[in-house]
Homo-oligomer: 136 residues x 2
DNA sequence: CGCGAACATTCCTGTCAAGGAATATACGAA
DNA sequence: TTCGTATATTCCTTGACAGGAATGTTCGCG
């Protein structure tokens, strides 16, 4: 029982949050491919133009996060998307949906105020337009 | 015009994808706090129990990603949530929503098949339950 | 003008993760 | 049984990033 609790804690530590797993572009590309249809590892290697061990390691991370399942077909391993864990990301976004839907007018007013400030030729170095490079 | 194109490319390179920005838990906590209301930097420092330069650096990353805006109030800087860039994450999730809604039965059947395999006392080391630690 | 407060930036260090190369393991075919 | 194929794992290197400490910059107040 005690050992079980320890193992559970270790699992939590070793597992990465879904967002951290998705932060790596290669893994998102893998998920996008699996969204179309199941893929064997070799197919993913070809589609991603990556080396086989790299793909294999990303798949291991995705398995650990529960985002894919795998079934053996002779010596091939066929990977399948398991989208359920993405729901936690969807849930995290829920209050932000309200933020971008409900506060759009407030944001527009804020940005308009900034524009007015710019029109007065007052530089505002701290409030950067997202398309503008940070001048560091 | 040519210089503009170069600058745009540099911007793309320097900017991080929204997902990469969100992969760091401290930045998500900042956004969660700003979802409640605007905060000055010092308030974020207190709420997060982090050192001020660390918070400041995260805010810089969030500004670069366009996820926050800032307005000066004397020597204080008040940060405001700007949720719009999260829409690209929401858009990325759209086809996956269909995947977890529409394919639930297919996944259930898949998992049931795995359970049946387990019942035959055939270990399946590659298809891990998400709550189960990877035995590496 | 000097000082304190608030915050941004710089320098440095340590940790972690991605990818390459080599290697190990499992399966099917001959 | 051997061999080729497919894939997982291990070891190593490198670079990116988070956070601490120090420092710089800006503003308001007296």
């Amino acid at each position: 029982m005690f050992a079980t609790a320890i193992m559970a804690t270790m699992t939590e530590v070793l597992e990465r949050q879904v967002l951290e797993v998705l932060a790596e572009p290669s893994r998102r590309r893998i998920l996008d491919l699996l969204l179309e249809r199941d893929h064997a590892v070799g197919e993913l290697v070809d589609a991603l133009a990556m080396r086989q061990p790299s793909v294999s390691k990303h798949l291991k991370v995705l398995r650990s996060a529960g985002l894919v399942t795998v079934r053996p077909e002779a010596q091939r391993r066929v990977y399948c998307l398991r989208a359920a864990p993405l729901q936690e990301l969807d849930e995290w976004l829920t209050p932000y949906r309200r933020a971008w839907a409900g506060r759009l007018d407030a944001l527009e007013r804020h940005l308009d105020a900034l524009d007015a400030l710019d029109a007065l030729d007052q530089p505002d170095p701290l409030d950067l337009d997202p398309s503008q490079e940070d001048p560091t």
